[in-house]
Symmetry: C2
């Protein structure tokens, strides 16, 4: 490098290891309006000079950056934070420079304390003040061989600000040897510090090499309570296909239980070619309804509605009625087709061909799924395919849908998701996508980075205290906390986990309660879950007689201990801000290997949750509460109020006894009240 080509040789500050930063700034972190974004970085220069560092941020619609001062933490680590007020994308970056006046004042302190005379230093200080004066809108004085006395009033403009006036007077004072003692005291004063930081020199600034992003979604991205149902099973009459109208009739029950997202598996026309029967049988009896995931028939594809459920208008009506109950309707995007799907005829190039020219059906060797054509994303016509899929989502949005659960997103290219989510959000910024991916950790993480607002998790298979604590640490204490919003499901219509196949009521209570209190987004597959449906298809983590393959007639009026708990916990979730955030979890030690205890704190709302994860035994232990952190003295009494039972307990000190009987109620949900 020719040195003359380098224009930054005087910039001495280094800015490194900025946090949060995902993959060198490639992906934004996530937030909801009102979130505080705490930014840290290593910031340092050669030598011993003082530095100034600022955090710059702006909403992408803002013309200008807002600046906030950073403060040193320890060992050249600096920090500052900003609040994302509104939806949309924010950017942030950092700047820093050597703070010469600050270094100067520090040296003045040391020399004065040492009893040195600082006449020469005061003249240097006056030069810094001359610079501040200009930046404060004042007019610099004529140079007078280092003495400004007498000339002051002549050059002072009438419109000069109060700051400029004060700075001008300070500079004159520093140059006035007859007022030496006064000058020294001002040089050491906060007044000098104040003007130096208000009108900084800002020379040879180092700006961080990346602008980093924050994707701010609407509040529901951060706090949601999902309820999944198959609308065709919403009928209360045996043998009658459920309709959107039937679903509307269930809304009082579902919203009464406290749910705010109603998620429906695919509602499109179902193909008949190779249609599967009851329990996934390859033989389909006449009259069997087929699998909603076998999408597409002569009646239409992903942009059409299955006629037996209702019309587009009736679907929009359901959305409107749900809104009256404070609920949103989420649709299910399964990018796959029945052989009867219109695309199979109109766009055969979007499917992979076999050597004989026929379209390749889905396989998971040795298993074959002749009823499904996977979409071939490596097609040379991929651009039209992407545009068509975007069009489908825009159609859904035009119906009023603002939440989409995506089926198996991990079998479609990451680049497609990044593109389509960004595209749809340009037109409908409220749109939220939930990734249904149960696959390898890095694939799930990547989907989160590429734009999914929420993601399925391994919660369904994390049962012991150790597993759950480790998993929560991974979600909330690693980089994942910045971009991965976990949504916990105890069961789904695809998964009847072994841990619940026994149908043991306390286990259902525990699995529900953990999902609803460990994280701020969770869902249940109803009414299967709350009615404790549990008989498996033999030797599988699936349901016998799954409504994926048949219409079920449910007893929608039944209530039980679990529905009672769900209703209560959802009300508590809505009333307690601490449960509306995931990353605020903090585990407390308990001397029992099944009892978990965790704090969830948001401002004054302080919850302590205690769960016995052993659904078969009464467990007792001592919870260690970090009272120092709660501002509670070691001798001080404090009340913990169980919001589930209404009971109050008087606790004292760090260590407090708990005892939980799964056959009674295996959990406490304490509010700490001092």
């Amino acid at each position: 490098m020719n040195v003359s080509e380098n224009l930054t040789g005087q910039s001495r500050v280094v800015i490194e290891r900025v946090s949060p930063e995902l993959d060198g700034g490639l992906y934004p972190i996530k937030a909801v309006p009102g979130d505080v974004i705490a930014v840290e970085a290593d910031i340092f220069a050669d030598g011993h000079d003082y530095l100034t560092a600022v955090l710059l941020f702006k909403h992408i619609d803002d013309a200008n950056w807002t600046e906030t001062a950073m403060a040193p933490i320890v060992n050249d680590r600096w920090g500052a934070s900003f609040v994302v007020e509104k939806q949309g994308k924010y950017l942030y970056t950092l700047e820093s420079w050597v703070d010469h006046p600050g270094s100067w004042q520090h040296e003045v302190h040391l020399k004065v304390a040492d009893g040195q005379r600082i006449t020469s230093e005061l003249l240097a200080g006056a030069q810094y003040l001359d610079g501040m004066l200009v930046r404060a809108g004042g007019v610099a004085e004529q140079k007078k061989g280092g003495k400004g006395k007498g000339a002051k009033t002549k050059s002072e403009p009438i419109s000069e600000s109060a700051d400029a006036k004060a700075i001008r007077e300070m500079a004159a004072l520093f140059r006035d040897e007859s007022r030496y003692n006064e000058a020294v005291s001002v040089a050491e004063s906060d007044q000098f510090t104040f003007y130096a930081s208000r009108y900084p020199e800002r020379q040879h600034v180092t700006r961080y090499s990346h602008e980093l992003g924050v994707e701010v979604d609407r509040a529901r991205a951060g706090f949601s309570n999902w309820y999944c149902l198959f609308p065709r099973s919403a009928s209360r009459v045996e043998g009658r296909h459920g309709t959107f109208k039937d679903v509307e009739a269930l809304l009082p029950r579902i919203s009464g239980m406290g749910f705010d997202v109603l998620y429906l598996p695919p509602i499109h026309p179902i193909g008949t070619a190779h249609r599967k029967g009851k329990n996934n049988s390859v033989i389909c009896q006449p009259g069997e309804p087929g699998v909603p995931y076998g999408i597409g028939s002569p009646e239409g594809g992903h942009d059409a509605i299955h006629p037996e459920l209702g019309t587009v208008e009736e679907f929009k009506h359901l959305i409107a009625i749900a809104a009256n109950y404070g609920m949103e309707v989420a649709m299910d995007l399964a990018i796959q087709c029945s052989p009867d799907h219109p695309w199979a005829k109109e766009h055969p190039e979007w499917f992979k061909k076999r050597p004989d020219g026929t379209i390749q059906y889905a396989e998971n060797p040795p298993k074959k799924y002749q009823d499904i054509y996977p979409v071939y994303f490596e097609t040379d016509d991929w651009q039209n395919l992407w545009e068509e899929l975007k069009r489908v989502l825009i159609v859904w949005a035009s119906w009023g849908v603002r939440i989409v659960r995506v089926d198996n997103p991990h079998t479609k290219p990451f680049g497609f998701w990044e593109w389509v989510i960004a595209e749809v959000k340009k037109e409908f910024p409220d749109m939220l996508f939930l990734a249904e991916a149960f696959t390898r950790p890095k694939v799930m993480q990547e989907l989160g980075k590429r734009g999914f607002a929420q993601s399925y998790t391994y919660y369904t298979w994390r049962n012991t205290k150790y597993e759950l604590e480790q998993y929560m640490m991974e979600l909330t204490q690693t980089e994942m906390k910045y971009y991965y919003r976990p949504n916990f499901w105890p069961t789904t219509h695809d998964i009847n986990p072994y841990s619940l196949q026994g149908g043991h009521e306390p286990q259902f209570l525990i699995r529900y309660f953990l999902a609803a209190t460990l994280v701020s987004n969770y869902g249940i597959y109803g009414p299967s879950f709350e009615l404790m449906e549990h008989i498996p298809f033999p030797n599988k983590e699936e349901y016998l007689n799954s409504e994926k393959y048949e219409i079920r007639l449910w007893d929608w009026d039944r209530t039980n201990k679990l529905t009672y708990l769900i209703t209560l916990v959802n009300r508590i979730r809505h009333e307690n801000a601490a449960l509306q955030i995931t990353n605020n979890i903090q585990f407390c030690p308990v001397n029992d290997d099944a009892i978990m205890a965790y704090l969830k704190i948001k401002d004054a709302n302080r919850l302590l949750i205690v769960v016995n994860t052993d659904a078969y035994s009464r467990r007792a232990g001592v919870v260690q509460v970090p009272i120092w952190q709660l501002g509670i003295g070691p001798e001080q009494y404090y009340q913990v109020h169980d919001l589930l039972t209404g009971a109050y307990y008087n606790w004292q000190g760090e260590h407090n006894y708990v005892e939980l009987d799964p056959y009674s109620l295996p959990m406490h949900l304490f509010r700490i009240e001092v």
Copy 2:
């Protein structure tokens, strides 16, 4: 983004979290010729397809990349390695793509195992083979409605390679239904795998976004034994100024002790303005020699030699003679000037002015150093300043110097070092720079990243077992291992550490031995250190009567227990490859809080070092040897041979007793001999 602008929509593979990678590829990692660079990355795609990933690397002088296949490790982490054969800069990056033939073969296995007939799959396989044939330089057959039988010989070119012939025959076999069983067996064979991986499809390749660097220095960057002396104290006659000739006379002793780098503090003319006297006195008596760091006089500056030491020719002679002893001479770059330095007159703009127009002398308030002008790197004439400093280094290189120890590099801009080191190495690739920075951790790290081949460390202040183990973990188990080559010094001419001020011989032995066995680069300040000089300037970590301020007359003939140990350990270091690497250290548990044990392994050279860090008490404990890792069975006997004493011990199993008396010998240096 308009989808049509995106050209990579079919590239499905993601490459992330590449290691090693420093600051997003901004800085190279470091190596010496022969080092193995192990590269890892997260590599994955959507879906369940097999992937192929390759590591690409090249020396910067090479026209083409060399490729090596990566292998999956676990959970989508892949790895491969390459050897840096020669000096200079290497680049590496990664590529990956979906391996369709590999996925195909995997599915064939599953279907065949399930008893399915795979006629259609074989035709698909034949299509993959057609592609391989073209890539193997063969000519694709005419399409014959899926049957190639009979046409083979006609289109086969005479010059076709053996591979192309084999692939062509395989494709024909796959299309020949009459040989179905044979075709299935070939489809499942390693033969198919072999050709598929030799002639890969390589479609829609993802290439990692950065090319990452490896700075390969010559071997001495990784293994060196430094000896520092003041040449003016090399005389054996009281009152006579030492010369380069005197230094030449000491070479047999120093090289006899096993050192290979002779480092000399500045050897330039010394200024007289404000010259400091004995013990850093501000009053200099007539005849006092001054401080070598007060560089510059009418006789010259950084490109001149102090006349009392000798001429440039005599210095070059010293370098030549040292080379005969296998030693290099390292110079000391202290970028600062005496007020008498030629630059102060010729380039006053390179120094900071005080308000009265005089040049600002060095300060560390409240302390003043009127004998030193710091160079002002924020000068507007910084480009000429940088060029001049480069010129100085080029002059030194022209004398034959290839190692430079830099004094206080942390008070000069990082950008300058990055530039000047790269510039000098362009002309003199052998040049190595050692950073003498005892300052904040991140500043020291940054100097390493910017190009210093070796760096001073906090070793000088790490005394207890806990401190030393923690520090070694930081140096060898964090990112620092890639770019920071620690050089351990028990003392320097600036630091007489409190731990040695007692002059306790066992403490000197321990501090020496740890430096020489924990890391591969170390140095001593002699003969002060080996003669166990220890009287401090009162209440400081400095020497009384330091030769920084006066000429010392040393007894260069004295030997003692420490000189014996130094000579022995340096010989062992040269003979045992395991001591010539730093990052191979591995601590073994010992049930004593003062006894440290560590393995150093390089191929068959396996050392176990045991040190009692308590210089005052006999300590005993049990060392836990990871015999499983050494391939030693639990019942098996093995010999540990103490290279210091010659003693052999027969050990068995993991746990073995050691006992170390500091008054006898507080260390073992075992070679493990099975």
